[in-house]
Amino acid sequence: MKHYETVFILNPVLSEDQAKDTVEKFVKVLTKAKAEVINVEKWGLKKMAYAIQNKSTGFYNLIEFSTSSSDLINTLETEFRRDESVMRFLTIALDKHAVVYNERRRKGEFNRNKKQTTRKEEVAA
């Protein structure tokens, strides 16, 4: 079961619920192919470092999943390419250190919300 993580940016023109069900659509693609979806994160509307399709903000979403079939990634990416509300997507394979890191991140060890987290805390945890 290889672990994968995909981050994609949705067009800010979409309304909240449109963005929500496009994310649902992609999760459905994964569950239909019997992939195990570990984590779905919505970072909401975020300012981008540079303009994409001359828009400076976008809905950021993250899906972490694990699957054994390798062609699922191709189908997922063609799904991303077909949907024009997706401005940009990035799918990566996670090695074992990344999987451990994601679990600790989900448990909130890096306490994402509190701003004054220092790397030492992260290492100590």
Binding site: I9, Y50, R88, L90, I92, H97, R105, R119, E122, V123
Partner: protein
Amino acid sequence: MTLMNEPIKRAENKPKYCRFKKNGIKYIDYKDPDFLLKFINEQGKILPRRLTGTSWKFQNKVAQAVKRARHIAILPYLADSLK
């Protein structure tokens, strides 16, 4: 070649170390901008190893993480005053 009466700057020749090996960090997250900001300069370029002192293996991981962050617009490709 330090001159006779020129002070040897202690700060310069203190040994550099790879902060990833020292702190035992194994994975560099490309989604975390404030950690990656430490490895790029004001124009958004990746800092070279001779300045940061990181080992070859982790410099590749840093470079890959920065390039991924740039792809999903978390870091800019070029910026004028980033920090």
